[in-house]
Amino acid sequence: MAEFRYTKDHECIYVEGDVAYVGISEHAQDALGDLVYIELPEVGKRVEKGGDVAVVESVKTAAEVYAPVDGEIVAVNEEMADELEFVSAPVNENGWIVKIKVADPSALNELMDEAEYAEYLKEVD
């Protein structure tokens, strides 16, 4: 069973070596509703923790996807732009939006694990 990490802004992250797969959590998908558009960044772009990396747009609203850590975009999920349902797939499969090469892997420890995120959702709701 794959292990995921989460941010307070509802990004869902899967870590493989020094690469973070970044998607959005089920909670975020539920809040947004069906996506109608996704805007992806350029590969090679340097990102800072909390900076914008992508925009997801639904019928209801548009929302930014933020970088969970500092690093560099090493891949973007072009297929998702055509198949927006991919967003609901697990982040380690088709559900990632961008892959970020993490500058400092220890920064990943600050992210919430599954249990902490579940607890956080109870708080914010």
Binding site: A31, V36, V59, T61
Partner: protein
Amino acid sequence: MNEKTMMKNAGKTKGLHYEEPLLWEYSQGGNCGVDWPQAEGREPRTGVPERGKIGLPSLSEPEVLRHYVRMSTWNYSIDHGFFPLGSCTMKHNPRLNEKTARLPGFAHIHPLQPESTVQGALELMYELQSWLSELTGLPGACLSPSAGAHGELAGMMTIRRAHEQQGNIAKRRVILTPDSSHGTNPATAVMCGFEVRSISTSETGGRLGVEEFKEALYRTDPMGGDVAGMMVTNPNTCGLFERDIQKIADLLHEAGGYFYCDGANFNALVGKVRPGDFGVDVMHFNLHKTFSTPHGGGGPGSGPICCSEELSRYMPVPTVVKEGDSYRFETAEERPDTLGTLKAFAGQFGIFVRALTYMKSMGADGLKQVAEDAVLNANYLLSLLKDDYHAPFEGPCMHECLLTDKVQKEFDVKTLDIAKTLIEYGYHPMTVYFPLVLHGTMLIEPTETESKAELDAFVATMKEIAAQAAGENGHDKLHAMPLSSPRRRLDEVKAARNPILKYVD
């Protein structure tokens, strides 16, 4: 209708149905509204045969008229019924406004006429400027922006111009705005070349907190020297008055920033509070909200701005000035610091006539009562609905109240289903999924022009919907709504993903 009849009829309205094809589908060919003989010795350029070549539908005048009139019966407007769209101030548009706007001396003038022949119109604009300045405590007024977002642009361009003329624009790059702000606020800041820094209000009960504001103000410069200004809607889109606004404005001013206030929610304050007194430097109005001029298709909108003494020299031209007993437009040469003109001519004149008619017919005391009654009506709805729907903020609220679908979500009924069910019951839904700071929000703004009976009928309908949601098969029932409207649920996702933008036979 008396109260009893109104309650009896609540929820019984069923729509009128016209199945209306497109003009092209009507077209039989060979018809034309106006046709005239071809000029001799010239290639034909008009008439039925030529229309055919460029693919226009061929229809007679009565066919076209009926098509549009039938389609207009699908509309829902404030003239049809209650229109509780939050942050939009859908108040009644008094017919007296229409009467004055149609006076030939106002309706049939041209913007290029010599000023000496339109003194009455210029005087009206001058008077409207004075009323807006009086109501805000901000002495400069420019009427030309065409709508709310255009007024925002005018306001932010004024701030930008001030920093440019003061030689600070290179270092003042940041605009602060709370996360509850209207989407147009950050968009306008970006249009003006600024960087947006959003301030979270989730930990501070939907209101802007002083500590959170300070953190954002001093984040990248200990003196806030990179901040150009802030954009705040007050009362905000949660229907709450920003209690610390004076303190926040002082901090901003100390740091050298200007305060733009989004006037979309001015209906809650008009006649009661002058925004200039709580530190606003520039503010826009929506004449089509607060001052009862038509919205949308019945518009156009109009978004004048008012500025502080300090910013007035930078705002757009033209404004109307008075010299002795006569009126004229101020020129750009007279005010060299102006950012220039934003629009051809002087703005939506017909709307100015309506707005000033409204102000003068209400009077200063009447406008004060507008704010009081608008706030009272919103609180009346909040108090009656908060046991059936989740009210995230206890209240009292200002001119609009905020509910969410938290209770109904237990039955898998969401805000969208509640809105669609309101259509079935003959109401235009409230604003849904806005503000974004909470999930499943419903923002309800009744305005002062609704009677108690009308509000009670709406409450009864909302309670009925809540009961249906919680009842047997509530989820199935409400997911099927609306049943009686000309169209049921549109596939919004498909429409957004694969929009069909041109007609193909």
